[in-house]
């Protein structure tokens, strides 16, 4: 493990340091001097065939940006936990998805988890997927800063034997730097081959979705917990479906239960696997509803939410596709409560009734008084 501390990832690194120093976890840890070095060190370790791990958030993740391309370009099965935190400026140590979504085009797989059990499980799954010879790509496991990184809840922890049965010690099926069969990593292929390298990576990342589903099945067999790239809840007869990622979807689930008790036909579709994006599955789950509300805990300034276009693409080919409304909310760790979800639902229903609104993107938890005081119109 090579990691550099940054809130709210620190718990992860500190806990691992404790395990390593006590001998419980047989690993080496490098206390590197920056995140750029953390990912570089992981690249070095993975390149010789060792299993590498790191964790980061926000600015740290942004600092390692160019190194992420090293990892995916060299086709190294590195796994990184990202404790989602907003990017500066302004400085925030709290949660939003802007940091990992800014890395969505780096050739890494990305998972977003809803609870602590899923965080644990997905790390195991991530390595198994990453190291599969049909994939050989790095994987990011994203968990909300504070809302998951600092949340305590009951979790089933597999025994070492169980974990090893699912994820045996590393046995690299990829060319590594070794004395017996020397390779050069980082050559310059020039125009004749560059495009084909990228095509290969693209196709493998696409196919990785299939491997992920296989690994989900195997995980279910070994541990009894079945995951899916899109996690639907109460969607079969839903007229309104809320799509989003991360821990806020737990709160949405809670709100959906409340709304169902009140007779509202609402459901949710949580995107667990964001890259490669499960276009087909989302279309199947959300396509039958009348209207879809996309919750983006992130924003591409001037354009809108980042998950939104992926959802649109999912639904585009459907002949009778639902309307889609985009909500940007929860930025900088702003709490998303069941009340916020109700606000989202009522706004969505209003759009459904009146036709698509004057705005492309809604910001349901913006403080109107603050905006007014700053002279900003809504």
């Amino acid at each position: 493990m090579a990691a550099y501390p940054i809130t709210p990832q620190t718990e992860i690194v500190e806990t691992l340091y404790k395990s390593i120093s006590s001998g419980e976890l047989k690993a080496y840890a490098i206390p590197v001097e920056s995140e750029h070095s953390a990912m570089s060190a992981c690249v070095g370790a993975s390149a010789v065939g060792a299993r590498a791990f790191t964790a980061s958030s926000s600015q740290g993740l942004a600092l390692m940006h160019e190194c992420l391309f090293l990892a995916s370009g060299f086709r190294l099965p590195i796994v990184m936990a990202v404790a989602n935190r907003a990017l500066s400026q302004p400085v925030s140590i709290m949660c939003d998805h802007g940091d990992s979504l800014a890395q969505r085009d780096t050739g890494w797989l990305q998972f977003y988890v809803e609870n602590c059990q899923e965080a644990l499980d997905t790390i195991l799954i991530a390595y198994r997927v990453a190291e599969d010879e049909r994939v050989l790509l790095p994987v990011m496991v994203c968990l909300d800063g504070f809302f998951l990184s600092h949340l305590s809840e009951p979790v089933e922890i597999p025994t070492s034997a169980e974990a090893e049965a699912f994820l045996p010690p590393p046995d690299p099926h990829y060319p590594t730097l070794n004395l017996k069969k020397p390779i050069i990593l980082g050559a310059m292929p020039y125009p004749p081959y560059h495009n084909e390298f990228q095509y290969d990576k693209h196709v493998c990342l696409e196919y990785a979705g299939t491997v992920v589903r296989e690994v989900f099945d195997r995980f279910a067999k070994d541990f009894g917990r079945k995951y899916n790239p899109v996690e639907p809840y109460q969607t079969d007869d839903a007229e309104l479906i809320i799509v989003g990622m991360g821990s806020m979807m737990g709160t949405v689930r809670h709100a959906v239960n409340q709304m169902r008790r009140a007779g509202k036909k609402v459901g949710l579709a949580r995107i667990k696997m964001y890259r490669p994006f499960p276009y087909g599955e989302l279309a199947e789950v959300a396509g039958k509803s009348d209207i879809v509300a996309v919750l983006d805990r992130d924003v591409s300034p001037g354009t809108g939410g980042i998950l939104y276009p992926d959802v649109l693409r999912s639904l585009y080919a459907l002949s009778d596709r639902p309307k889609v409304v985009n909500f940007v909310l929860g930025l900088g760790g702003r709490d998303i409560s069941p009340l916020t979800v109700e606000k989202v639902v009522s706004e969505t229903r209003r759009v459904k009734k009146t036709g698509l609104s004057e705005k492309e993107t809604f910001w349901p938890d913006a403080n109107i008084n603050t905006l007014k005081a700053w002279g900003i119109s809504e």
């Binding site: 609870n115 809302f147 600092h150 949340l151 305590s152 809840e153 009951p154 737990g250 709160t251 809670h254």
Partner: protein, 181 residues
């Protein structure tokens, strides 16, 4: 589902107390959740910890707006934070203070219990850290978890003799709230 909100200052074990409560609930066979909230990272800034306890899995992961129980581990935090915000009709507040209830500025419609947990702490663990002792008082206000499980959680968290001292303090606080002995 029961929602408990802890208020205190960082460096005084508010998060630990919340985690212990959540841990005890699990030992009772329930589902629980403990989530801290603090704005800046330094000792002495206000900290809030949210605990939820339920018989079935808890999905919601937001701050507790309308707590059933509020625990104030350091009454000085009340100068900076509206600890009673969002209280419902039946909410109860427990404050660590030697002052009487009417001097706390909480209004007359609140159900307030006070406990001089710092005094108990100085007698038992010999330090003015009342976080764990407040849990004993909390159980006196409402049996949110079993005392047995709370004791077990404390024993798992702290080494001896600190664990036993904390348990003794918890018992004293519990008795004080219940007016036993």
């Amino acid at each position: 589902m029961l929602e408990v909100r802890f208020h205190g200052f960082s460096g005084e074990g508010v998060v630990t107390a919340a985690d212990l409560l959540a841990g005890a609930a699990v030992l009772d066979g329930k589902w629980s959740q403990s989530l801290p909230y603090f704005t800046t990272e330094r000792r002495g800034s206000p900290v809030i910890s949210f605990v939820r306890i339920d018989d079935s899995p808890i999905w919601v992961k937001s701050f507790i707006q309308n707590p059933d129980l509020i625990v104030v581990t350091n009454s000085s935090v009340m100068k900076f934070v509206k600890v009673a915000e969002g209280t419902k009709e039946n909410s109860r507040i427990l404050v660590n203070t030697p002052k009487p209830v009417n001097e706390l500025g909480l209004g007359t419609s609140m159900h307030v219990d006070t406990i001089d947990a710092n005094r108990i702490a100085s007698e038992t663990i010999k330090k003015p850290i009342a976080n764990v002792i407040m849990l004993g008082a909390l159980l006196g206000v409402e049996e949110v978890v079993s005392f047995k499980s709370l004791k077990e959680a404390v024993s798992q968290e702290f080494p001896e003799p600190l664990a036993s001292k904390n348990v003794a303090g918890m018992q004293m606080a519990y008795n004080a709230i219940r007016r036993i002995g």
